[in-house]
């Protein structure tokens, strides 16, 4: 169980770019390297992680841990995957508060903000890749965009509404 904890720390430490990058890394470690799960089992976990609330990486880590060692395993894997974040992000936040008046530091963030925009766009492309298999999904996209933009609806209601529409009409 300790090996698994260490593996998830490694996953948390070396994966940049959020959920989908982390999923790829979990697959490499958990399926290819350690053989804790088969490829088919992992594919199920990926599907469920996307269909369940919360960050995909956390969902997947919880699931893998649960399958091997129950509730304790799921807590351990989740903690492992966020431990590097807790340390690194705390350091970044503290230095941001301390250094944000420095000109060079401001310049870095000015450029990182631009990069950040591109990375969000990239995430949108990755999620959007298989989101539009038919006309129905295009209509949903346009309606969702219009509702969010025109009436500034709380996204929670939009997601709940969309899920209901999908169940009835999908």
């Amino acid at each position: 169980m300790f090996t698994m904890f260490l593996t998830f720390i490694k996953i948390g430490l070396f994966s940049f770019g959020g959920g989908y990058a982390i999923l790829a890394m979990i697959q490499q470690e958990v399926v290819a390297r350690h053989g804790w799960l088969t490829a088919a089992e992992f594919a199920d976990i990926v599907a469920i992680s996307q269909m369940t609330p919360g960050p995909i990486a956390i969902n997947a880590a919880t699931f893998v841990g649960f399958q091997r060692y129950g509730v304790l395993g799921s807590i351990l894997c989740t903690f492992g995957v966020i431990l590097p974040s807790l340390i690194l992000m705390a350091i970044i936040t503290v230095s941001y508060i301390k250094l944000s008046s420095q000109a060079w530091f401001k310049d870095i963030f000015k450029n990182l903000r631009l990069l950040s925009l591109g990375l969000i766009g990239a995430a949108m492309i990755m999620i959007g890749k298989d989101a539009f298999p038919d006309f129905f999904s295009v209509v949903i996209f346009l309606l969702a965009f219009l509702i969010l933009w025109r009436w500034k609806v709380n996204p929670i209601y939009l997601l709940l509404g969309t899920a209901a529409v999908g169940m009835v009409l999908g």
């Binding site: 996307q50 960050p55 966020i82 992000m89 903000r113 949108m124 949903i140």
Partner: protein, 178 residues
């Protein structure tokens, strides 16, 4: 205050499907508009920092917001709030409905949710671009990043490192000119 931080992130974690990027507009709405805990610029800096650090984006952003508000305790409250809905729902699903992903109803809902999640990410992208001040001379930066990472599959880590190094080099050169 700590309780409010916890509940806010719990709510966002419990009601967003589609992962960290889909959670961003909700976190922004709660943090900047509803509670007015920080301004848009500080939030966008936090987002840029969250993407520059390894690990889940939503967790990184929770740490940033939580720490800003109440240091270590705020950080713990925000992270716990983000993680708990995942832990609970996955444990329930894994132990009770092992065939959840096969259930037609969940599949149908998910098929409709996917394009909605794309819209959820697309809209703040436009609003953020306006706030950052995208102009003709700098819109190539996000565009190139989008192509390199989103289409060619290059790791964002390289781009982040490159951006930081080039910025330091440029500002060092500028300060020597003066």
């Amino acid at each position: 205050m700590l309780w409010q931080i916890f509940i806010t992130f719990l709510k966002v974690g419990a009601f967003t499907i589609g992962g960290g990027y889909a959670m961003l507009p909700l976190i922004r709405r709660e943090v900047c508009e509803k509670h007015k805990w920080m301004d848009e610029m500080a939030f966008m800096d936090g987002l840029a920092a969250a993407q520059s650090s390894p690990g889940p984006i939503a967790i990184n952003l929770s740490i940033y917001v939580g720490y800003h508000l109440r240091k270590g305790k705020g950080m713990a409250a925000a992270v716990l709030g983000t993680v708990l809905p995942s832990l609970i729902s996955i444990i329930i699903i894994a132990s009770l409905f092992s065939r959840y992903a096969d259930s037609t109803l969940a599949r149908k809902a998910f098929r409709a949710l996917k394009p909605a999640v794309v819209a959820l990410i697309a809209l703040p992208l436009i609003e953020m671009a306006k706030k950052i001040g995208i102009k003709l001379n700098n819109f190539w930066v996000p565009l190139v990043a989008l192509i390199l990472v989103g289409i060619l599959g290059i790791s964002p880590a390289h781009l982040i490192l490159l951006t930081i190094l080039v910025t330091i080099w440029l500002s060092d050169r500028n300060s020597r000119k003066v």
